[in-house]
């Protein structure tokens, strides 16, 4: 605790307006200024403020982005002058990150110094407890890193991929090259670099999963709340339809839709989203119905709050834990479904790379080139496992039983 900055008395909290009264600048203010100046390098200020974890993450992220920018300087700069939107976005994202981390670091350091004076109750608020518990779960935190890095890779695909994922060179001399430093994951039957394809495939797989999850949750929430809100006949009819819909095995339903509609990426996202909503619908309906029953709803109604406000205000906190958990699981399920369909040749079609169709491409050549199916499948597996672990960690951290421990 030796390097702890001293607390600022409340009347001196305004850092800029120090020393107006003609006296020598207070030692504490100098100290605070020194810390804020340190924060020019993201995270350094936080380190001095004993916020080591946040500081380390800021610094690590800043250095990572900075090294990518300097490593691929030409590509990053070139990104601004191409018509390709994804390259433009990637370059913008990198520069935005550089500037953003610096600004955030300084702003946050100042905020923390200001807060020092106040008596911060190291709260026992449920969210704080949950967060502390989540951080204690190494597997869940590790999965969060994996997921974050994969999404980062997906956004930066055009900058990180060493080769053009679709480039076919001299096929006979470049096909089925085993993994090497030049081709980290080897090459496939057309001599395309599998690492670059995997990087671009991350883009397809991850975004399809995320978008489909959002659609499924939105549709499900809307359906469930309409059923619960109107009740009566509407509820009965909607629920009977839901029962029938649930009887269809989801994957068959997806197959049928894929067969009926031409599948490009957007259509695939819609198909995945629109087949996976019933679980959410049922959950939301149940949650709203039980809210309607509870005492605090009665109380809220008694003081004249409309039903809608009550439901929105109380539903969100009470459903947060299951919704977060099921969202994580749902992304995994959607990524898996997309991969399954693509593996069967019915989802994302080559030459657009997706992890699923890359595995498919390698499945016939397991004898000659094991790496073709192994690496994309491994990345897929790692992603799905990470989402599952994340969901597990969230569930444990947000477990209401554990949050309100009662023994006696």
């Amino acid at each position: 605790m030796a390097d702890h900055p001293p607390r600022l008395p409340p009347e001196l909290r305004d850092l800029e307006g120090s020393g107006d009264d003609g006296m020598a600048p207070d030692f504490e203010i100098l100290e605070a200024k020194r810390i804020v100046n340190k924060a020019w390098l993201p995270g350094m200020g936080h380190m001095s403020l004993n916020k080591r974890s946040r500081g380390f993450h800021l610094l690590a992220y800043f250095l990572l982005v900075a090294s990518i920018v300097s490593w691929r300087w030409d590509l990053v700069i070139g990104g601004f002058s191409t018509p390709a939107v994804d390259r433009w976005v990637a370059s913008l994202f990198l520069f935005g990150s550089l500037v953003g981390t610096v600004l955030f670091s300084r702003w946050d350091a100042q905020r923390l110094i200001r807060r020092r004076g106040e008596s911060v109750s190291k709260g026992k608020s449920p969210m704080r407890i949950a967060w502390r518990r989540f951080r204690g779960n190494a597997l869940a935190v590790g999965s969060l890193y994996v997921i974050a890095i994969f999404y980062l890779v997906a956004v930066l695909a055009p900058i990180l991929a060493p080769f053009d994922p679709a480039a076919i060179d001299d096929v006979m001399s470049t096909r089925y090259l085993p993994p090497s430093l030049n081709h980290l994951f080897g090459t496939d039957e057309y001599g395309r670099d599998l690492f670059s394809r995997a990087v671009y495939g991350a883009r397809v797989s991850l975004s399809v999963g995320l978008l489909a999850m959002v659609i499924a949750k939105t549709v499900g929430t809307a359906y469930g709340s309409v059923a619960a809100y109107f009740g009566g006949v509407v509820d009965a009819v909607l629920m009977r339809f839901l029962d029938v819909f649930i009887a269809f095995p989801t994957f068959y339903l997806m197959l049928m839709m894929v067969g009926v509609f031409e599948a490009n990426i957007m259509v695939l996202v819609l198909i995945l989203g629109f087949t996976a909503w019933p679980g959410t619908a049922r959950f939301i309906r149940g949650e709203i119905l039980s809210l309607k029953e509870q005492a605090f709803t009665e109380a809220a109604r008694a003081i004249g709050l409309p039903n809608r406000t009550i439901i929105l205000k109380h539903l969100i906190p009470s459903a947060l834990s299951p919704v977060l958990v099921s969202a994580a699981l749902s992304v995994a399920a959607m990524i898996g479904a997309e991969a399954g369909l693509s593996y069967l040749g019915l989802g994302i079609r080559p030459p657009t790379p997706s992890w699923g169709n890359m595995v498919s491409g390698g499945s016939d050549t397991l004898f000659v080139a094991w790496w073709v199916a192994l690496f994309p499948g491994g990345l897929l597996a790692l992603t799905l496992i990470s989402f599952s672990l994340l969901a597990d960690g969230l569930r444990d951290a947000l477990d209401p039983k554990a949050l309100m421990q009662k023994y006696v």
């Binding site: 029938v244 269809f248 095995p249 994957f251 593996y343 019915l346 397991l366 496992i385 672990l389």
Partner: protein, 331 residues
């Protein structure tokens, strides 16, 4: 009991009707005319408009919608799903050939799942916080999360390609016809081993996690503590008092899991060239073979309804509370 079974059976009828209706709607909302699909394989050639008109009449597409709907229902009721655009064979007969293969696979996988999943779940729960529990819990999470097609490929790579222990695909060997009866059985089982294992281990992982959590809940239930307070051995407490209560909801879980199992079977069947319904469905989607797509989807849903029916009736047999009144949420 019987009354309950009949009641459940009656509830299933509108479900099946709903399924038939949804599939009909799906055909109608499909972009383009079903005839285009029919003619797609021959699109290179110019088709005589008169032929099209004849086909339209043949498939009843000239009739108004409600007539078509009624016809669809009566056809389905008679097991007539039309004729495959591809193979020109009656889809009903194709289904009749494929479903036994799918059932073989799913039933064996379910047995595998029930045996290993429940056993591992119990072990993990009883040995909570030990290394064994951690291994089972983590292992089942990983296996459950890994996509089955990749797992299948890796299994094939290791056990078929490298070790040569199991065949890579198909349901029987080339020399099947020349084998003795037991030889034939053995050959079939030998071919079933890998697909059943891959399918079974994935769902067993889910079962293990579910059983573990259920059993942990029940092991802390008041009535289990009360049984301990009465001086029963821990083994008796677990087997007689906890297990039955923990396993009852597993029956419902199996009912609910059936759609996933059937969905998973499509991928596994395709990988192992298993001539089941899933393989048929994938082939149908790939070839835009409409009648096949509709028939397989419909059958999958009907099988799900039947599976749930079976699960509910079993549940009623083992849980005394069901037949007397509404089902309670927990065991």
């Amino acid at each position: 009991m019987l009354a309950y079974t009949i009641k459940r059976l009656l509830i299933s009828i509108p479900m099946v009707l709903g399924i038939v209706t949804i599939t009909f709607v799906m055909i109608r909302v499909a972009p383009g005319d079903p005839l285009d699909m029919y003619l797609e394989p021959q699109r290179q050639r110019q088709v005589d408009p008169e032929v099209i008109e004849l086909l339209r009449q043949k498939y009843g597409l000239d009739q108004p919608l409600h007539i078509q709907y009624i016809r669809w229902i009566s056809n389905v009721a008679r097991g007539d799903f039309g004729e495959s655009f591809r193979s020109r064979r009656p889809v009903g007969r194709m289904l009749a050939e494929a479903i036994p293969y799918t059932l073989q696979l799913t039933i064996l996988a379910t047995l595998f799942d029930a045996f290993f999943g429940i056993m591992l779940g119990i072990i993990a729960a009883v040995k909570q916080y030990t290394a064994l529990d951690k291994v089972v819990t983590m292992g089942s999470l990983v296996v459950y999360a890994v996509p089955s097609f990749w797992l299948a490929l890796m299994m094939v790579m290791v056990f078929s390609v490298n070790l040569g222990w199991f065949p890579t695909s198909q349901t029987r060997s080339m020399d099947y016809e020349f084998l003795s009866f037991w030889g034939k059985m053995g050959d079939r089982l030998w071919h079933l081993a890998l697909p059943v294992f891959v399918m079974g281990i994935g769902s067993a992982a889910g079962t293990a996690r579910y059983v573990r959590n259920r059993l942990l809940d029940v092991l802390n239930a008041d009535f289990v503590w009360a049984a301990r307070a009465r001086g029963f051995k821990e083994r008796v407490v677990i087997v007689r008092h906890a297990l039955r209560n923990a396993l009852i909801p597993v029956i419902t879980m199996y009912g609910m899991n059936l759609p996933y199992l059937l969905g998973g079977a499509t991928v596994i069947e395709t990988i192992f060239a298993w001539p089941g319904m899933g393989n048929m469905a994938v082939g149908g989607v790939g070839g835009r073979d409409y009648p096949v797509i509709m028939a397989t989807t419909l059958m999958a849903a009907v099988l799900t309804v039947l599976g749930n029916l079976l699960a509910d009736v079993t549940y009623a047999v083992v849980d005394p509370r069901v037949t007397y009144g509404g089902r309670r949420k927990d065991g």
